[in-house]
Chain length 268, copies 2
């Protein structure tokens, strides 16, 4: 896709576009994804994965939405440190940040504030990932699977309000899940595989939702090597897929798809 | 929308449909949203907002994705308690759940695992919400605003990978934000309003994303009375909007929209 947009909000990468079985080298503009760490009175409150613009507004809005600050009068000073990707907020009055609140986990279905125990820093341990390129399939097989995937989304058809996720081999869809949460739909797949001891290395993960870094890390943990989405990917997901040996495919719709990484697993 | 789907995954509500300025009483099937609490060896790990099906798979997959369990052999027993909406997982070996991991907040852009400090239980304090119905506008004003809203989404047009959010009065869009996270886009609005002391009671919140309970609670905290989305709403968001006096509008596309609650604020 192409439109006029501030450069730091997107990144352009060389990709492979497939239409009706034919590969072409191309470029794609991908939304930028970066971590932003928010401090309140020098105490770390959260790290959000976000689009890197208006970081001060994001930090103030986050602290307000989560109940740490009540109104503009509560904020004494707010400072954004660009190289560190940090916003430091200082309040006029002392604010009690109880350990209890920070420990009591409530996860909800929203995009944008996904608490994840899996850290990007953990990847330093994973630099020597062995990349196995033996599993290959044709773009036509992917197109057929995505068609079947879309036909299965009954809750989405009824309500327009869910994400879908599926596990497939080359021939067919093996598991299919729907949930209000992009992550929940994927976790339901991994949970069933775990309880039924279904191996994942030689399977594809299909999803209706965008692929951000958190979904990519989750798939890597499950040993998935190939992810196909109907939607977009973020810059950080793409860069992690490179490092982790994952074939990342986005905008798989009709006879089209964009292959962002490890295109050699997909035959024409 | 309508299709054949398991009943517990959706709920049907009476709504008002508007097409080209004309109101009609109708019904809409909305995706069910419920909390699920996950325990590991009797310690509470997380409460997820989810679609209420395959709860055991969700719990096992969540614990796997977040690194608490490594493989199927780690699980000794898993039990779902339907009335309590709880899954209890017991591991074969002792698993250390460090307070440090639970306290170190990393929020990412995913749907489905949104850590929120704002609790649904807090609403018990809010039962005597004063509902002010003075602010009204016409459906044609909403249609015009949504048209302008869509024209503004430059990062989305370039990448297909973002959510948009805007603050508007009857006449025009006042603030516009884009982010990979549905929540971040809304928090950027609230942050700017906070820092610039812009009151929110007489404004509309426009969003490209789905309205789940977490977004609704966030808007309530900011004193927003009218939310318009291009996308779907969840059952819990709709029920909370009823309790909190918020006009909730979904599927606002072209000349159409669905009004889920407090339709009296929208004139024909």
């Amino acid at each position: 896709m192409a439109a006029k947009v501030k450069k730091k909000n997107t990144k352009t990468y060389p990709i492979i576009k497939i239409f009706d079985g034919v590969k072409n080298a191309s470029k794609d503009e991908v939304v930028a994804e970066k971590p932003l760490t928010i401090y309140l009175n020098n105490q770390k409150i959260a790290t959000l994965m976000c689009t890197p613009q208006e970081q001060k507004y994001l930090a103030a809005g986050f602290l307000f939405s989560e109940g740490f600050i009540k109104n503009s009068g509560d904020i004494k000073r707010i400072a954004y440190n660009s190289p560190k990707e940090e916003v430091k907020v200082f309040s006029r009055k002392k604010i009690k940040i109880s350990g209890h609140i920070l420990q009591d986990q409530t996860f909800t279905s929203g995009c944008g504030k996904n608490k994840s125990f899996l850290k990007i820093e953990d990847l330093n341990l994973l630099e020597d990932v062995l990349i196995n390129l033996e599993f290959t399939l044709s773009s036509k097989e992917i197109i057929k699977l995505m068609k079947k995937f879309e036909l299965k989304s009954s809750v989405f058809k009824a309500t327009g309000g869910t994400h879908s996720s599926a596990l497939a081999n080359k021939e067919k869809i093996l598991l299919f899940k729907e949930d209000i949460g992009r992550h929940n739909a994927v976790d339901k797949i991994f949970g069933e595989c775990l309880l039924k001891k279904i191996p994942l290395q030689d399977k594809l993960l299909l999803t209706s939702g965008r692929i951000s870094s958190d979904i990519l890390l989750k798939a890597h943990r499950a040993k998935i090597n190939l992810i196909v989405s109907r939607s977009a990917v973020t810059s950080l997901a793409l860069e992690l897929a490179h490092r982790l040996g994952i074939t990342l495919i986005g905008f798989a719709r009709g006879k089209r798809m964009n292959i962002y990484t490890y295109q050699m697993r997909v035959l024409e």
